[in-house]
């Protein structure tokens, strides 16, 4: 469970488990992501977010080590106060870490909001997202800070996108440090 500010997402990971014959892949693990919104039934927006999360996780999980199995990732949105997609990404990565699945690299989600006057704001609240000209969400990998996933809302110029990317890559370092501390805390007790 991850809560930056007031946005809260609960992630549950199940697997690698036995896959149904119709869903199993012969050479790698089949990943399924389910995103449940706080209210209402999952709609088209959730489906597209699930696709983003699924392909990001597939790039990172070493699925070839577990062929013909199924890995299920279920995300439940507990509260939404802005930066939801990056919160889901972070929750997904921590769930993968906690489950001990073999990963090629860690990833973290960072949201940047471009305000009307041109300043870049990281991790915007819902209010700031409303006022922003554009919102860019990146999933940054821990090895060499490469871009795993990018999703934008609103239009921006190319230079602004590059600036946001650089800012996101810098912020990624802080988030990875947070991952380290959380995992250390978890395993130092026992």
């Amino acid at each position: 469970s991850l809560s930056p500010g007031d946005t809260s997402v609960l992630a549950g990971l199940y697997g690698p488990a036995e896959a149904k014959v119709s869903k199993e892949l012969p050479d790698r693990a089949a990943l399924e992501v389910l995103l449940r919104p706080k209210v209402g039934l999952p709609g088209v927006l959730e489906r597209s977010r699930e696709q983003l999360l699924r392909q990001t996780c597939e790039a990172v999980i070493l699925g070839v080590l577990h062929p013909r199995t199924a890995i299920s990732l279920v995300l439940q949105v507990l509260s939404d106060a802005g930066s939801l997609l990056s919160c889901c990404l972070n929750a997904a990565c921590m769930a993968l870490l906690d489950a001990g699945l073999p990963l090629a690299t860690l990833f973290c989600g960072v949201t940047c909001a471009l305000q009307p006057d041109g300043t870049i704001l990281l991790d915007p609240t819902a209010q700031q997202e409303q006022e922003a000209r554009a919102i860019l969400t990146f999933a940054i990998a821990s090895s060499e800070r490469k871009v795993l996933m990018a999703s934008t809302k609103g239009s921006c110029s190319v230079e602004e996108m590059q600036q946001c990317l650089v800012a996101a890559q810098r912020a990624a370092t802080t988030i990875f440090q947070f991952y380290r501390d959380s995992v250390r805390r978890r395993y130092s007790k026992c």
Binding site: L53, L148, M161
Partner: protein
């Protein structure tokens, strides 16, 4: 080619070309067909149903058709001066064997959401323009995008088809009769839709974490380790950067994609302008 598809492709990619003879940065031949009223039905009972715009786009073998139907509805309470645009992407089972009939799969839903985002982000149709009378009447544009033949690069073709169809739309003038409060549709007088921006999508497939190829076919998409779609408008602004997972890319590579996308935009814009000019009656 069937037994070891990846190795087969790698051999071509080493020579910087692809099995169908294209360069890595070359697009397939694009054809656009803008037609008026491909389907037209009329139901009485108060509402007017008119099929106003349609377009057929072929990107190599990928065939996508878009039909725009305009209907009247009451605007939502919290946005009384805004109309609606409802895009819907369908991937029927006739377009490729991997799509089953039944409720829309994840790919179709994700594509619908992508198209909705592009319309919203690029502000190509401002919802306020669709309003006829604040709080009472507004246009609803149902944009149905149906893929007839899937050979990769669905998003590019869909965005192009949508743009072409919307340019073709003519909305009849609607006035509200003050006394009766009913709407009167003047079919004789038609105005074209106000399209402010022209977004164009460019898709790339990533191979082996390093190589980027433009306009992937279905075969290339299956072998690729990731995809990137960039939507630009005429001012060189980015309307959408859509990279759903897949291999990691450096910022520099992403920049290359953006530059290529901007060039592509100019080519597509020229094509659309040529087609529109050829069908406009004098």
């Amino acid at each position: 080619r069937t037994v070891e598809p990846l190795e087969y492709y790698r051999r071509f990619l080493k020579e910087n070309c692809r099995p169908d003879g294209r360069e890595l940065g070359e697009f397939r031949t694009t054809t656009v067909n803008i037609g008026k009223c491909l389907w037209n039905n009329n139901n009485g009972g108060g509402s007017i149903t008119t099929a106003d715009g349609s377009a057929l786009v072929k990107l190599g073998n990928t065939t996508v058709i878009c039909g725009v139907k305009a209907e009247l509805a009451a605007p939502a309470v919290d946005s009384a001066n805004k109309g609606y645009i409802v895009p819907n992407v369908e991937l029927p089972s006739l377009c490729a064997e991997r799509f089953r009939s039944g409720p829309p799969g994840e790919e179709a839903q994700a594509a619908s959401q992508f198209i909705a985002d592009v319309i919203e982000n690029s502000q190509m149709i401002v919802k306020e323009d669709l309003c006829i009378a604040t709080g009472k009447l507004a246009w609803v544009l149902y944009c149905d995008i149906i893929c007839l033949d899937y050979d990769g690069n669905l998003l590019d073709a869909s965005v192009f088809a949508l743009l072409a169809a919307l340019k073709n739309v003519q909305l009849p003038l609607v006035t509200i009769n003050e006394e009766t409060g009913l709407s009167e549709v003047n079919v004789k007088q038609k105005n074209p839709l106000i399209i402010r921006k022209h977004p164009v999508a460019t898709s790339f497939a990533i191979f082996d974490d390093t190589l980027l190829i433009v306009d992937p076919t279905a075969e290339e998409e299956d072998l690729a380790t990731g995809t990137v779609t960039i939507v630009t408008d005429e001012e060189g602004r980015l309307c959408s950067v859509h990279k759903p997972g897949g291999s990691p890319l450096t910022g520099a590579k992403l920049q290359d994609c953006v530059t290529r996308a901007i060039t592509r935009h100019k080519e597509v814009k020229k094509l659309i302008d040529k087609v529109i000019k050829s069908i406009t009656p004098k």
